[in-house]
């Protein structure tokens, strides 16, 4: 089931609607998300980084399972986290901090695998390239950096290399508001929007600026057409501009060069955009608290959802496993569903645990099938395994004592046998020698 999830910086919870039928699903409570701070982790649960007072030094990230409106897991990283992103199978969560650091957590254990200083100012948006080998981060100072995840975990390589990142683009003069990447992994293009009223198109393979498009207003969100012919830019003036990537636009029209049209509903500023999986429906979130679903082909509004009075700042289109739907509809099977309700992973760690980092550097995961029993699939990392082993050992200390006794007995018995064998050997030896000598004596005699 494809659902639209949306969150707001004011406490309106996370709204969830079926994209195709329009029916509202559960609303997950008490969420004040940061921009780009909503993520669906491996289709299993929702995670959102929370707005905090500037006074509090630590941030917070909350988890909701699909089935319950209450917050299930709370974790408190060392600093406020703004953007949050997860890889497609939900192995890792990556967050960008307000000091410019990027945090890299393993979901299953909650361990902070890596924290590195990425920017000089707060990180504003993050995304992974579609092959999940590159991480692209944008910051408040207008800088965009491309990180290779291989390099990030290669400490020696990092020291050897001149710079830890693959590319650093600094052509934006103000805060980067949103970024989106095309298909093709490391050969893709990125489109970035900034408060300097431009959108820029970059090439990941060549590491250079391909195009810079000036807009009449600040662009808050960008979404890329699946065919990569055009991209949609949601502006603060309430319009969604359509800018061409692949078409030749020679004549500059009323909006400016490369801009070929708008989607407009006379609403307040557009804050976020997302495409559905089929690439036809475009979902936009607005300052006025509504979420509009557009048909990108006909430029018409298909549906409008209302989240809150305050602005919407995150919109995602995700697939939601079906069983949880069944669970909400059939109350009679509550006991059954509770049994099936997945245990959410432990909270995220605060600091990099340097002591056991060397011991277990690799993670083991069992790939999951995207079926309804997704939650039952084993999902264990090496770290968890070792922890379990050590626990097992602690539990059976008495048993090991008995074992030692038994082994001691065995040992004693073995020693006795050896003794016996030795005696036997000595006896045989003596016998043989006597025999030989006796023969000699008889011969000489």
């Amino acid at each position: 089931m494809e659902v639209v999830i949306a969150s707001s910086p004011v406490d309106a919870g996370i709204g969830c609607w079926d994209l195709h039928s329009g029916a509202e699903q559960l609303r997950y409570r008490s969420c004040t998300s940061t921009p780009h701070g909503l993520a669906c982790v491996g289709q299993r649960f929702l995670a959102s980084s929370q707005l905090r007072d500037s006074s509090s030094s630590s941030g917070s990230i909350l988890y909701w399972s699909w089935s319950k409106p209450q917050v299930e897991v709370k974790s408190f990283p060392a600093e406020p986290i703004h953007p949050l992103v997860s890889n497609s199978d939900g192995m890792y969560i990556i967050g960008g901090g307000s000091s410019g650091a990027i945090y890299f957590w393993e979901v299953a254990s909650g361990r902070l695998l890596k924290r590195w200083h990425a920017h000089y100012r707060a990180v504003t948006c993050l995304f992974l390239s579609d092959d999940e080998s590159l991480l692209v981060s944008g910051a408040e100072d207008g800088c965009i950096r491309v990180w290779s995840l291989f390099m990030v975990f290669d400490d020696i390589g990092m020291e050897m290399a001149k710079n830890p990142y693959e590319y650093s683009f600094s052509e934006h003069t103000l805060r980067v508001t949103d970024m989106v990447s095309g298909y093709g992994g490391c050969n893709a293009i990125i489109v970035s929007a900034s408060e300097d009223r431009t959108c820029k198109v970059w090439s990941l393979s060549r590491g250079k600026l391909l195009r810079s498009i000036d807009f009449p207003s600040i662009i808050e969100a960008v979404a890329l057409d699946p065919g990569e012919h055009v991209f949609y830019a949601g502006a603060r003036d309430g319009k969604i501009y359509i800018a061409s990537i692949n078409a030749e636009t020679t004549s500059s029209n009323s909006y400016g060069k490369h801009i070929i049209g708008t989607l407009s509903d006379n609403s307040k500023g557009v804050t976020c955009l997302a495409f559905s999986k089929d690439g036809i429906l475009l979902v936009s979130g607005s300052e006025d608290g509504t979420i509009r679903v557009w048909d990108a082909k006909t430029h018409n509004i298909v549906r409008i959802y209302r989240l809150a009075k305050g602005p919407v700042n995150n919109v995602l289109v995700v697939r939601r496993p079906l069983y949880s739907n069944r669970q909400t509809s059939e109350n009679s099977h509550s006991s059954f569903s509770r049994r099936h309700a997945p245990l959410l992973p432990p909270p995220l760690g605060k600091y990099v645990n340097s002591t056991d980092e060397n011991v277990d550097s690799g993670a083991v995961s069992v790939p999951q099938t995207p079926s309804s029993d997704i939650m039952d699939a084993p999902y264990l990392s090496y770290h968890v395994l070792t922890k379990q082993i050590s626990e097992l050992q602690q539990q059976s200390s008495a048993a090991t004592g008995m074992e030692v006794d038994r082994l001691n007995l065995d040992c004693k018995r073995s020693v006795e046998i050896v003794q016996k064998w030795k005696e036997m050997f000595a006896y045989l030896h003596k016998f043989c020698v006597d025999e030989l000598l006796g023969n000699d004596q008889t011969q000489t005699q």
Binding site: Y120, R175, L210
Partner: protein
Amino acid sequence: MARSKPSSSKKQPKRGVDFKKIKRKIGRKLPPPKNATNTEIKSKAIILPEQSVASERAGLAVSKKGLTLKELLQQTSHHNAKVRRDALTGIRDLVLKYPAELTLHKLAIIEKLRERISDEDKVVRETLYQLLKLVIFPALKKDVPGSLISLMMAYIFNGMTHLATDIRLMAFKFFDLVVQHYPSSFFMYAEKVLQNYEDILRKNHIYLQDRSKLKNALVGLVRCLSLLPCNRRTVDPSYGKNTETQGSLHAYELEVPKEHTDFSSIIKRLEDILPILVNCFQDFIPLVHPMSSLDAQSFDCMLYLLRSIDLSVKFFLYGIDKHQTDFGVTKPTYNEKDMPVWGEIATPVFLRKFLEVFPLNQLHNTSGKDEDKFFILNIEITEIFLHSNEWIFTSAILMERFLEFIENLLSGKIRFNSRSGKALQEKHLTSLLPFIPRLVSLVANTWKSRLLQAFTMAFKDCKPESTLNLAFLSAIEEMLLPSKRQGILLLDASEPEILDHQITWIRELPVLLVRLGDTLSSLSKVILHLLLRLGQYAPMNSSLAWEYDIMQHTLGEFYSMCLDDGSILYGPFMKLPKDCQELSVCCLYYFSSLDSLLLRSLVYCCLCDNLEPSVLFRIIDVLHSAYKIGHLQLVDLISFFVTLVARWKVLPGRLYTHVENAKKISNRETFKAITGAVCSCLRQMGDDALIFQIVQRVILDEIPLNPPIDNLCGMLRLLVILDSRPTKLSEQSIIILSNSISEYLIDAASYIPENGDEVTDSNQISICQYYLVPCFFLFDRSDKLLNLVLDLMGSSIGEDNSSLACNHDTQHTLDLSSRIVAVVSILLYMHQDIKIRRRLSSCKGEITRILQKMRLQVYTP
């Protein structure tokens, strides 16, 4: 028979004479018979000014002497040098006269002319050189196929290996000419050419006598070497936008075959040449030491030698650098096995020896002019040293000498004596400055501080319009900010001394910006870019960031300054081009807390008529963004917005005159857009009630100043947008507002279309609505306000009688009647609106009072 014949001839006289025998000598010709006809033909040349005897040449292109191109070309291979020369000048005339002839027959012309490259006659060669240089190459610049060049090159190489030295040197000159016009041709023949250069330099002692010729050859070498790729340290970083030519980004790109040259052969040749160059230079050194002055020719030779050494060193460095940074993005052009040879082992040995000669002529104090020459040479050597510094391990003593020289140069202890010296010095400093950051980061601490000291002094002394500033700025950028390529800081800002220097530079920047004015916008742009980078990259809470924040006090002057007498002095910001303005506005975003003083000077700029609206909107945008990340106080921002709306000058002008005064109309539109932008910012700020309180307070401060109708309308709009129903306005503010609104309504009434008018202008209706709608909103939300306003309107009609009694009667009555008309039309207009009609019904008392007063007024006079 043969023997008998002479004897018989002796005997003959003894015989009897029967008949006379005619003596004849054998082999002698018979004398011509007397009656023979003389068949000899004698002729003399007839020289005609035009040889138009044979053919009709009316339509043909001919030279001054009437020769066609074909004839001229034939004559170029004439055995007489004079004829050849004349033919060449003839070709020149012809081509100048008929340029089409050249393009048609270029192949034939070049084919013939090339034979003259190794002509024995000096004058012919010289004429050919001039012909090629001045006429043929410039004309053919656009379309010259490689085949043409290769045609020439065969003969040039022939000339280069000619026995006569003159021809040989001349061939180099020709090659220089070719390279000058078609730089790519060097790479095609690089190996061979360099080989030839090597040969000729090896035998330099032969040519040492004739320095001008050696100089010519060296000029060519310098030109060739400068074509080699090297790490270009551009003084002016290219902030320009990339080319926007590409229409579709995913389109198939034609792969342009890049000029792929095999550098390895060039490397080998250069390695051979470099020692020879050094030797050659050292041959000149004895000339330096005696007290005699250095003549210009040998000075030039030395200079060019140094330049070529410099260029080849640069090329080696480029190779090493490229090898290190090759990520496979650019094709590796060198073979792996060639790499170790690269300079690292072979070259430094003699280079080190060569550098030992530095500094030239330090002891001898000769005449001023010579000193300049030595100075230039010294600078060249220093440059070579700095280039090679990275891979030669130099001795400390030598290092000291160089560093001292650089320090002296920076601090101006060494100066040029001649008049043009100042410009020269700047030029040379520009070439040295890019090395300073690296040098400073590498040398020992004592030298670090001395160099920085000198650098800072020089930067401070530098005149704003000097070209040196660019070089200084890029050096400063390198020393202040983490470099773009490596992402690490070159200097450790934690050392207090370095930090002191850095702070001095930062403080100098806004001062420089203000002093520059709008004279050099390119330089201003570089400074602003540096400031922006500083704002972006200064680590949070570091002393650099702090210094950046402090800078806003001095930066206020850049925008505008309020003088003591209340007049405003606009800073350079207003006059700079738009891209600079945008950059400076972006800088505002990075101040961690924007100063209200800076905001004030910014607001003066915004209120100026000359500021482009787009820049104004950018300012609003940026300030709002700055507020969002907490760099700006809420109160400051709101008072900025309200001031903007309250004081922005809308040019007066009637609306229906839009045909003539299109500009004035657009001005009003701009104001509407500003109001709209401010409104949307205010609405996005969050807590409406709190913001409303602040806005209300600020607006009430502004209203007693009697703002023009447009501004008042804008302010009312701000209030309406934030207000809710029922109103949140306080009692006191309602009273103040009612005063101004009543006046405002009467003013606005003039825009109400008259009832009887059939053809009302749609534009006028919209304007009228624009003015009145905010009032209606307020009335709708507060009955009290409506009552008060109606009261005031009524009393304004009534009180006039007493207060304006002293006025002229006619004037008074006119005034009064128009006032009455205004009030009536307002009331009628209000009555048309359904919501307001409902409200009006509750204040019948006020309306009847107004009517009574009107009647009173009408009947009293």
